[in-house]
Amino acid sequence: MLETLRTDLTSWEIGPYHGALPGPMRMKLRIDGEIIISTDLETGFLHRGLEKAFELHPWPATVAYADHLDPEAAFFGELALCLAVEEISGLDCPPRAQAIRVLLSELSRISAHLGYIVKVGRAVGAETLIHYVLRDREKILDLFELLSGARYSLNFLRFGGVAADVTEGFIERVLEVAELLRARLKEYNDLFTFNHSFLLRTAGVGVITRELALQSGLTGPNARAAGLAFDARKAHPYIGFDKLDFEVPVGRGEAGRLGDAHDRFLVRLRELSQSLEILKDVAETVPEGEFSRMRIDRDFEVPNGESYARVESSRGLLGCHVVSDGGRFPARVQFRVPTSANLTLLPEIVRGLAIEDLPVVIASLDLCLAEADR
């Protein structure tokens, strides 16, 4: 009876600016009652011409632009660019710089995942959790500030190393924060992860099936939650990830179905604890030595050539294709960002959901419009 009851479709536009959206974008919903029938996404509000900007600036200044690819985890953009440029120009990174890079990479991942918990918490209205997590993320931002002088846009990597050696006490503080976060993770779990209301909101909601993930080229924690165990750190090891021992957590569909919002949340929590392990391993064994092969030089030239570097960012596979014509300016810098795949499958997975699930699904996908629009 109820199934045959059909009401007129309603249109509802959300955006471009709204608290439930990850950034400026417009969603044009067609809803039947409160069931979403179709979704049109309009993006591009945050297009800053970043890739064009790379071509207009000398090589050393491009690192500052790579920071702005994804403001929430700025380090990964830098890392991808530096790896690609280092490959073309044949610079190798000293072991100490590599260890620092691993530390920063995992700290960025943790900070981005904590930011993700905040997003999900906000979407389901768990205020207390948000404050706890933000408090702890502050510790990591403080670490960034201690090391590089900035909290978000680090601009700390240089071609062939890092900008400076670690400051005194940094390593100890990394270990301290890792220890603290391990205790905090337990607290988050007690408070939130298996809370009945939270399970009701997320279990079985916004399911990404394996097929859909394959079709849309999904990567990162979202794909791993859907059962695809692809991690660029394992598949294409960089900055010494092949020497580290860590696991790649994959979704198990504990609460609802494989690949639902709760799985995505859990996979990120597990990644967090894996990153903490890596931090501990690396921080205890940072080798001595120099931190950079070369000093920054405005006239730095990259030889004619091209390369493609893959980095596992907090959202997924971040690729950077750099083409150089041998001059002081890049000929082309292209980024393969994980968010564009997430955006293409968003309309697929929200079809048939109630409108109240929309914020939860959007938050659980961890979209970054800055990255998608560039």
Partner: protein
């Protein structure tokens, strides 16, 4: 028993139990915060700007990237910072000074409305005259107030002529001592 009325009722009661249990579990996690039990559960709010409870400029880490400051006495006017700046927020104008060795930095303007605080200019500054201060409070009412000027100012025509003469003099002295 599977699928029977009793198992359905049992499941139902378990669900209700879990619901209340999870609320209880969450509560006992959060309640110690009410009294700030232990070092890890203290309030972390930092009062700002009135009163400033902590994190004054002096508490910031040594590498903290605040507003830029240029020590004009050390600045050589080499324009390296202007050239590397990713957002073109630095403008330097120089003239020949009283002697050959040093340029007169007439203008050294930094537009903070454009600056992204990336720190590249500080890194390329060879005389180390341009540094990040720890000052971070830069809000102003007018856009033009966001320009920080460190230059010595443009020189008058007669001053310029005088310096040219001095340089000529110095050159002559060198050639015919």
């Amino acid at each position: 028993m599977r699928g029977s009325v009793f198992s359905a009722i049992r499941e139902y009661l378990q669900d209700v139990y879990r619901r209340f249990q999870s609320i209880w579990g969450s509560l006992i996690t959060a309640v110690p915060y009410l009294w700030g039990v232990g070092e890890q559960r203290k309030e972390v709010t930092e009062q700002y700007p009135d009163p400033v409870s902590s994190r004054t400029a002096d508490d910031l880490p040594a590498r903290s990237r605040g507003l830029l400051v240029n020590d004009i006495d050390r600045c050589t006017g080499c324009k390296e910072c202007e050239k590397i700046c990713p957002v073109q927020c630095i403008r330097v104008d120089t003239e020949a000074g009283a002697d050959q060795s040093k340029l007169w930095v007439a203008r050294f303007d930094i537009d903070y409305s454009k600056c992204v605080f990336c720190g590249l200019c500080v890194e390329v500054c060879h005389p180390q005259s341009l540094v990040h201060s720890k000052k971070f409070e830069g809000s102003v009412y007018e856009l033009k107030d966001l320009v920080a000027s460190f230059g010595r100012g443009f020189v008058t025509a007669e001053q310029r002529a005088k310096w040219a003469a001095m340089r000529q003099q110095a050159e002559n002295d060198e050639v015919f001592p």
